[in-house]
Amino acid sequence: MITDIGIVDTKKIIATIAENYGIDFSNLALTAFKRRLIKVMNDYNFSSVVDFIHKIETDPRLFEKYLSEGMVDTTEMFRDPSFWRELRDIYIPELIKTFGNIRVHIPGVSSGDEVYSLMILLKETKLNDKVSVLVSSLSQLRLDAIRNGASYDLRKMENSDANYKRLNENGELSNYYRTENNKVVLDASLVAGVEFLKGSYIKDLNEKGFHLVLYRNRMIYMNSTLQDQVVQKLFDSLVVGGILCIGAKENIETSPEAKKMLCLNPNEKVYKKRIA
C-alpha cells in the first residue's frame, strides 16, 4: 500500500497526463491532489509510480476511470442549508423577476450533489420551466452517472437527509431517491431537462450569458494562479446582474474581478456582477 508520494513523482504523473490527454493538473492544490492520487493508486493496487504512469500512457479507458474516481465529491446534498434557503427564497426569484427566463451553469462537477439539490428546489418552487441548467465536467463517466441518477453510499445520505430537513422541515429527501443494495439512486427525471457538457472550464468551454453560476468548493483544489484564471472565466460568463456562488470558506477578494462584484452575503459567499 502506498502511503505517500514525493513531489518529483507527483510532477511526473502530472506531466504524463498533460502529454497524453492535454489535461493540465499542474496548478492544483498539492495536498488534496496527492491524496487523490494515492487513493486511486491504492484502489487499483498499484505498488509503484512507474507502473501507474505506464498505465496512464497506455490505457485511455482506465485513465477515464482514474479521472472519474480521483475527483473529489462535495460529499453531501444541500451542503450549507442556509445557502440553499437564500438561493430558493431570494436569489432565484429575484433573478427571474429581473431577467424572465434564466440560465444556470454548474461547472466542474464531480458528483450530482449540487445539481440534484438545485433541481429539487426548482421542482418544489415550480420554477423549472423558467430555468435552464447546464452542467459541465472533465469526466464523461461522472456526467453519465449524474444523468442516470448518480449513485451514493447509503451512509452518505445521512448528512444529505439532515441538511434537507433543515431546509424543509416537513419534507423527506427520500421522496427523491430509491435504495438498491445499500446504494441510493436519485430520481433521474429531476435532471431530464439538464444539458450536460464535457470539457475543462478553463480550456474548452466558452459558454457565456449565465444568470447564475454555482461553483462552490471547487477552487479549494486549485492554487492561486489557477483560481485567478477561473474567477475571471466565471466572471466573464455572467451577465451583468448575474450571481456567482462559491464555497463558504473560499476567498476571491484578491482577484481583480472582485472589485466589479458586490458581495451580497459574506457568510454564504454570494456575489453579484455589478459591471462588465
Binding site: R35, I220, E250
Partner: protein, 187 residues
C-alpha cells in the same frame, strides 16, 4: 531549546475546557502559529470561534482557503472542511470524504503539518472519544517533530491519547498544566 515553528493541537470529546485553558494561558506576544483541529458539529458554522475567543489571549480565526499563516494567531479548522497546511506557508481546505467519521479530520491536518514543518512542529493530542489523531501524531514523530499527549489519567475521555500511545512512542505524556508550561517556553 529546538527552534519550533508551529504548534498543532487535536481534540475531541472532553477537550473543550483543556483547549480553553491552554489558549487562555499563552502570552500575548506568542511567536508561533497555533493550529486547532477539534471535532465539531458539521452543520454549525458559527459560534465556536466566538466561544473560544472569550478566554483567549491571542486572536482566533477560522481560516479561509489559501489564507497565509501568521505567527501569534490561533487557527481553528472550520466546520465541515478538512484543514491542510500547504507548502508556501498557507492553508488549504478540502471537502474530501470524512476520515474516522470526522471532517475536519485531525489525522489529515496533522499529516499535512508534519509534512510541511518536519522537525519544527509540536503536535499535541488531547482528550477524545475516537482514534482520530493517532496516525497524524505518528507522522509528526516520523518527520522529526515533537509529540505530546494529554495524560490519559487526566483526560475526560482517554480514548484518543490512548490510541496514540498504542501506535507510537510519544515524547511526553503531560497533564494540562505541563502542556501549558511547555507551550509557553516555545514562543
Amino acid at each position: 531549546m529546538e527552534q519550533y515553528k508551529a504548534v498543532i493541537i487535536g481534540g475531541s470529546a472532553g477537550s473543550f475546557q483543556v483547549v480553553t485553558r491552554i489558549i487562555s494561558s499563552l502570552p500575548k506576544n506568542y511567536s508561533l502559529p497555533v493550529f486547532l483541529c477539534l471535532h465539531r458539529l458539521k452543520h454549525v458554522r458559527s459560534g465556536f470561534v466566538e466561544a473560544l475567543s472569550i478566554k483567549s489571549t491571542l486572536p482566533i480565526c477560522e481560516p479561509n482557503d489559501k489564507d497565509p499563516i501568521k505567527p501569534g494567531i490561533i487557527y481553528l479548522a472550520p466546520a465541515n472542511y478538512h484543514m491542510y497546511i500547504e507548502l508556501g506557508n498557507k492553508f488549504s481546505l478540502s471537502t474530501e470524504e470524512p476520515v474516522n467519521h470526522s471532517r475536519p479530520s485531525i489525522d489529515l491536518s496533522f499529516i499535512s503539518a508534519a509534512y510541511n514543518y518536519k522537525r519544527k512542529l509540536v503536535g499535541v493530542i488531547l482528550s477524545g472519544a475516537n482514534k482520530d489523531g493517532a496516525i497524524g501524531l505518528k507522522k509528526v514523530k516520523e518527520n522529526g517533530g515533537l509529540t505530546i499527549v494529554q495524560d490519559p489519567n487526566e483526560s475526560q475521555v482517554p480514548t484518543m491519547p490512548n490510541a496514540c500511545l498504542q501506535v507510537m512512542k510519544v515524547d511526553h505524556i503531560f497533564s494540562t498544566n505541563e502542556i501549558i508550561r511547555f507551550l509557553n517556553k516555545l514562543g
